[in-house]
C-alpha cells in the first residue's frame, strides 16, 4: 500500500517548508524537502557599504537573530584584516551564548515538545504523583502538588472550552505519544514557564546591542562603550544585570531543560534508531578565545566527521575552493556551465529560473527541480550541520568537557554512543550543548570583568573604519556556528562597496534537495525509514524534521536575472 503524504505548511519552524513523503506499508521510503519562499537578500546587498551589511544580513532570521550579523561583521573584518579588541570578542561571545540558551530552550519547549508531549493526556495526571516525579528529577522550586493541580485545572477549563487556540486540531491521543500523564503535565507546565523565561535571557542582547530581536553589531568591535563610572555606558549595574541573567539562565537550563530532556528520552528510546540520516557531520566552530583567526582556541572546534568514524576529525577550510561548493541540479536556478557543477561561493553564480508548478498546486513535480534551496556539498559529501555535528566533532576531538557531558547522558540512559545518530540523539545533543554554553558564558563573563578591572575598557578599533584605508579589492569569509549549524558569509569588496555577498546557511545544508549524484541532504535522508502510523497524522515526520530545528527564511538562494547579466556571482540562502 503506497501513499504520498504532503505536509505544507510544516508548522513550529521558522519560514516556509514543504515536505512530501512516500509511505509504503507504514514506512517512509522516500522524501522530498522544499523551501517555498525567497527574498533575494544578496542581490540587495550588492553595491552597499560593507559596514552596513550586518544589519541587512541580520534580517535573514529573527529567530536566530544575531548570528548572521556576527558572520557578517566577521566577513568584513576578515577581508580588511581587522583585529577586534578582547572585550569585543567576549561581548560577542556572551551575546552568542545568550542566543543559544534562548533559542534552544524555545525550540525544545515551543517548537519541538508538542511532538513528544501530549497536552490532552496531562488532564489525566495525578498532581501529587506529578510533584513527586518533578522533585525526583530536579530541585526546581515550582514543583508542589498544588502548583500542578492549579495548572491542571486551568488546562481542563481550557480544553473543555473547546477553544484550543494553538493546540487545536493537533495529534493528541496519537499512539506514538508514550509519556505518562504526569510527565506530560510537567511538560505543559514548563512550556508555559519557558515562555516567561525566554524574555529574560535576551536582555543580554538588549544591554550590549540595544534590542532583541535584531540587536546592533559593529564592524571592528561592538557598539557599546564600557565605562564603570558612567550611567550612559556599560557600567557596574549593567554588568551585574548581565551576570544575574546568565546565572538565572544556567539555573533554568540545569534544573528545567536538561531534567525534562532526560525524563522524556527514556520513554522514546525507539527514536534512537530512527532519523539518523546522513553519516557525515560538519562544523566551522565558534566561540574564539584568542581572536577569530586562531581556530585552535575555539570552544566549539572546527572539523568534519565522515562515515560516522569518530576516530578521525577532518580539517575544514571555508576558503578552500574545493571544499564548500553549491550546485543547482534540483533547485530553481540555472548555472552557465551546467546546473550539476559545484561552485565555491566566491565563484558562485545564481540565476533564478522557476520551473515548478504555477500556484495553486497540489504536488511538486519532484522528478524535476523542486526547491528554492541550492544544494551545498563539502568535498562532494552531503553533511549534516547543527548541534549533533558540534557535539560529535567535540567528542571525536577528544575534548574533556564534551566527553564528560555526553558520557554522563549516555550513562543515565544506559546506552552506547551510537544512539546519538538519530532523531532523539539530535534533540539530546541540543540540550547537552546548552549545558556547555551555560558554563562557558560564566567563564566569558568573568574574563570580561577581569579585563575591565585591569583597566582595559576597549570595545572597538577604528583603524580601518574609514573606507579610504581599504584596499581596492578584498575578500573575506565570516564563519560561525548558528544554533542550527554551520554558517558562513563570503564577501568581496571592490572600490569600497560590496561587489558580491553570499551566504551558505545551516538549513541550506540540511534541508536542500538531492544533488546530481542523487545524494539526499539531511532532512530527506533522515526521513527515509521513519515509521508512519497514520498518513493522515504526520506526527513522526514532524518529530524528525523538528529535531533539526528548521529555519527556512535563511535557507533559500535567489538572484534576480532580470536586472543583471549572468556573469555575476551571487549565491543567496533561500529566503535570504
Amino acid at each position: 500500500m503506497m501513499s504520498r503524504i504532503v505536509v505544507d505548511p510544516v508548522t513550529r519552524i521558522e519560514g516556509h517548508l514543504r515536505i512530501e513523503a512516500e509511505v509504503k506499508d507504514g514506512i517512509i521510503t522516500d522524501a522530498w524537502s522544499a523551501g517555498t519562499m525567497v527574498r533575494g537578500l544578496e542581490i540587495i546587498l550588492k553595491g552597499r557599504d560593507p559596514r552596513d551589511a550586518w544589519a541587512f544580513a541580520e534580517r535573514v532570521c529573527g529567530v536566530c537573530t544575531t548570528v548572521h550579523a556576527l558572520a557578517s561583521v566577521r566577513s568584513v573584518e576578515d577581508a580588511l584584516g581587522i583585529e577586534i579588541p578582547p572585550n569585543a570578542e567576549l561581548i560577542r561571545n556572551l551575546m552568542f551564548c545568550a542566543q543559544y540558551m534562548q533559542d534552544h530552550v524555545v525550540h525544545f519547549y515551543h517548537l519541538h515538545a508538542l511532538d513528544w508531549v501530549d497536552v490532552v493526556s496531562a488532564l489525566k495526571a495525578d498532581p501529587k504523583a506529578t510533584s513527586e516525579i518533578a522533585r525526583s528529577l530536579s530541585s526546581w522550586p515550582k514543583s508542589s502538588p498544588g502548583y500542578f493541580s492549579d495548572l491542571q485545572k486551568r488546562l481542563t477549563t481550557f480544553v473543555e472550552s473547546g477553544q484550543l487556540g494553538i493546540f487545536a486540531n493537533a495529534y493528541w491521543g496519537h499512539p506514538a505519544y508514550k509519556l505518562p500523564p504526569e510527565v506530560n503535565l510537567i511538560g505543559v507546565a514548563h512550556y508555559l514557564e519557558a515562555l516567561e523565561w525566554q524574555k529574560e535571557i535576551v536582555k543580554v542582547h538588549t544591554i550590549f546591542g540595544g534590542k532583541n530581536p535584531h540587536p546592533n553589531y559593529l564592524v571592528g568591535g561592538v557598539p557599546c562603550a564600557v565605562n564603570i563610572e558612567e550611567a550612559n555606558a556599560i557600567n557596574a549595574e549593567r554588568l551585574a544585570m548581565v551576570g544575574k541573567l546568565l546565572a538565572d539562565a544556567a539555573t533554568f537550563v540545569e534544573q528545567v531543560y536538561i531534567p525534562d530532556l532526560m525524563a522524556i528520552a527514556p520513554n522514546y528510546l525507539d527514536w534512537t534508531n530512527i532519523g539518523g540520516g546522513l553519516e557525515n557531520y560538519l562544523c566551522y566552530g565558534d566561540l574564539p578565545q584568542n581572536g577569530f583567526a586562531d581556530v585552535s582556541g575555539f570552544k566549539f572546534p572546527r572539523g568534519a566527521i565522515l562515515g560516522r568514524n569518530l576516530n578521525e576529525v577532518h580539517e575544514v577550510d571555508p576558503k578552500d575552493p574545493t571544499g564548500v561548493q553549491e550546485e543547482v541540479t534540483n533547485s530553481w536556478y540555472e548555472y552557465k556551465n551546467g546546473d550539476t557543477s559545484g561552485l565555491h561561493p566566491w565563484d558562485g553564480e545564481t540565476k533564478l529560473k522557476y520551473s515548478g508548478p504555477q500556484p495553486p498546486y497540489e504536488h511538486l513535480d519532484v522528478d524535476q527541480k523542486y526547491s528554492w534551496l541550492k544544494t551545498p556539498r563539502w568535498k562532494g559529501h552531503a553533511v549534516e550541520v547543527g548541534p549533533l555535528s558540534r557535539m560529535l566533532v567535540g567528542y571525536a576531538s577528544g575534548i574533556d568537557e564534551y566527553k564528560e557531558v555526553v558520557g554522563a547522558a549516555l550513562k543515565q540512559l544506559d546506552a552506547p554512543a551510537t544512539i546519538l545518530f538519530s532523531t532523539l540523539g539530535r534533540t539530546a545533543a541540543r540540550g547537552l550543548e546548552t549545558r556547555l554554553i551555560a558554563r562557558w558564558a560564566k567563564q566569558f563573563y568573568d574574563q570580561l570583568l577581569a579585563n575591565i578591572r585591569n583597566g582595559d575598557s576597549r570595545t572597538f578599533t577604528n583603524e580601518k573604519w574609514e573606507p579610504e584605508t581599504w584596499p581596492k579589492e578584498a575578500r573575506g569569509v565570516g564563519a560561525s556556528e548558528a544554533p542550527r549549524g554551520a554558517l558562513a558569509h563570503w564577501l568581496v569588496i571592490k572600490d569600497q562597496v560590496i561587489e558580491n555577498y553570499q551566504l551558505v546557511v545551516p538549513s541550506t545544508w540540511n534541508a536542500s534537495p538531492r544533488d546530481s549524484k542523487g545524494q539526499r541532504s539531511a532532512y530527506e535522508a533522515s526521513l527515509v525509514g521513519t515509521p508512519v502510523h497514520d498518513p493522515e497524522q504526520p506526527l513522526e515526520i514532524l518529530r524528525t524534521i523538528h529535531s533539526f530545528d528548521p529555519c527556512l527564511a535563511c535557507a533559500v538562494h535567489l538572484y534576480d536575472d532580470k536586472k543583471n547579466s549572468l556573469s555575476e556571482v551571487s549565491t543567496s540562502p533561500a529566503g535570504v
Binding site: 508548522t11 519560514g15 517555498t36 472550552s161 565605562n227 555606558a233 497540489e362 572597538f460 573604519w465
Partner: protein, 379 residues
Amino acid sequence: MMIDTPTPKTDQTLWEEMRARGVTRRDFIKFCTWMAAYMGLESSGVAQVARALEKNKRIPIIWLHFQECTCCSESFIRSSHPIVADILLDKVSLDYTETLQAAAGHQAEAIKEQTMKESYGEYILMVEGSVPMEEDGVYCCIGGKSAQQILEEAAAGAKAIVAWGNCACAGCVQSANPNPTGARSIKSLIKNKPIVNVQGCPPIAEVMAGTVVHLLAFGRIPQLDALGRPKAFYSRRVHDTCYRRPYYDAGLFVESFDDENAKRGYCLYKMGCRGPTTYNSCGIIRWNNGTSFPIQSGHGCIGCSEEGFWDQSPFYKRLAGFPGFGIETTADKIGVGLGVATAVGIAAHATMTNIRKRKTIGQQPGETETEAEQEESNA
C-alpha cells in the same frame, strides 16, 4: 483520540476567558492599567479598557506569515506582561499561527478555513511579512498557494487587518533596491479594509500588545498617523524622546565609536543616528521590558520603523540636517522620506543653540564651507 476541531466559542468575553484561566481580578486590573498606560490613555482609560474587556466578546485572530524572518512573532512573545503571552497569544483567540501551532499541514489549514468561514466579517487578520508580486507570486507559496492568493482570501472576511512590522507595512529589507521578488506591503494590495501598520523591524513587544488590546477592548482600530501607524506609539521622534538629546542641544557628540565621548554617552548624531527622522517609542518604552534601546547601548538608531529605511543607508553617514524642531512635530506635518543621507540640507532648529551647534558640527561630507554657511543662514 483526536480532538475534533472545536467550534470557536465567541460567546465568552475576554475577562471570562481570563477568569476561567485562573487570572485574579487584581491581576486583570493590573493588566488593564499597564495596557492603558502603554496606549497613552488617561488614568480614566483604565476603567474604559477594563469595562470593554469585560463586556466585549473575544475576537478570533488569524496570523499569516509571508516573506519575513519571524522577528515580529519573536518580539511579540517578549511582551513583558505575562497575560499577553498567556492570554492573548495562547488562549484567547489565536486560531492560526504557523510559528507556534501544534497542528501542521492540512490540519493547520483546516483551522484557518474554519475561522474564515464561521467568523466571516468578525476576525482580525494579522500579517507578518511582505507579498512578492513578481512571476505570479512563485517566490512565496504555502500549502501550494501563493502569498497573494492566501492574503486575498483571508482579507475578504476580515474585520480589520494588522500589518506587523516593516515587511508587512512597507516591504522591509526584501523590497530594498532592486527588490528582486517584487515584495509589496499589505496596504498596497488590500484597499477596502481598515489596516493598522505596526512599524519597526521588529516592532516593540509592548507596542504590539498595546495594538492588540486596543482592538480587543474597543473593537475598532486605534487613531493612525499619515502612514497608518497607531499615533499612540508613532507620533514622536526618537530624537525628541531621547535621553541623550541634551547633548545634541549642547553640541556634544560621539566622534568615533568607543571614544571618550562615547564612554560619556554623548549624542550619536554624527555616527549616523536616524533618531531625528524616525517615529517610534524606543526612547519612551524602550526594549525588552524597558531594559535599553539602541542609542542607550551606544549605536545610532537605523530608522527601522520608517518606510524605505534600508535605502537610506549608509547607516553610519550622518543625516544632512532635518526638519522640525519639537516633540509636537509629527510625520503628518513634515511628510516622509526626509531622512536622506545626502548633503542636501534642510533648515534645522531656528534657534541660537542650533546655529551654534551647526558651527560645532561643521560641514557635511562633500559640502563646502559656503554651503554650510548658506544653510546656517536658512536656519
